[in-house]
Symmetry: C2
């Protein structure tokens, strides 16, 4: 399971992508209220997203957050990695965070690793395709279906 932090982050980003006409800063409290996220917790999350270059902020009165990158450039893989670390299910099949399994006899011929490598690759592909834009258009599509 992904952490609540990641889930909240994705929801906040999608909200900003939807709301952001003209990149006006939107306040934490507004996002928190709309997306049902604990205010103070969201504060920390948005700060991390800003430090990671996905959001920008404006301080002081009438300040707030807005997307720094375009909705096509922000994907779920990136957000998950930021808060939950590697997407892979085994340390020996991650790219950036690679770590050998202590108990493993021979990584090169490990059938278990081979399975989890395939799973990782497929998952990362899907999550990289899942940009804010894609999420929004999926949602619109589902809305059409619902009306029928």
């Amino acid at each position: 399971m992904i952490s609540k932090k990641t889930k909240y982050a994705i929801n906040a980003l999608v909200y900003l992508a939807r709301e952001n006409r003209g990149n006006e800063p939107i306040q934490i409290s507004k996002i928190a209220e709309s997306e049902n996220i604990p205010r103070k917790f969201l504060e920390a999350i948005l700060l991390d997203l800003r430090n990671a270059g996905m959001l920008s902020s404006k301080k002081g009165k009438a300040g707030g957050y807005y997307l720094h990158k375009s909705p096509e450039e922000i994907n779920i893989a990136e957000v998950m990695r930021l808060f939950d670390g590697p997407i892979a299910l085994l340390p020996c099949v991650t790219h950036a965070y690679y770590e050998r399994c202590e108990e493993c006899k021979d990584e090169a011929t490990c059938g278990i690793r081979s399975v989890f490598l395939d799973v990782r690759n497929e998952t990362v592909n899907m999550l990289k395709m899942a940009t804010l834009s894609q999420i929004i258009s999926r949602s619109e599509h589902l809305n059409e279906e619902k009306k029928k």
Copy 2:
């Protein structure tokens, strides 16, 4: 990431599938030593696998564990669910453990859910295909490759 418990369990199962000619019970200590798993920890794991119907055991002197099902019938998805719970990354896209996301406004039109539903389905498919037999044959393949 999967837990060490799950990783140890898969390794133990693969070991038993490889070793089991004639279903003679193999002792915990032997498995623990061969697979580099803490003895007492493995004890608890094997017990769970037995209660889940994947292993059988024989008590007392010359006792031990052996596969209850055939290596084609035991897959990674089942083992992961036993120790780590749902495979899905969001509670709202699991089958057996379904739980609504508290903060969610409308599940039916949630684009985020839609993404994670696809990921779950793909992952579960791959992990169900990954039986002990498949793992062993993957490993044999990798061995052939290595020799070249």
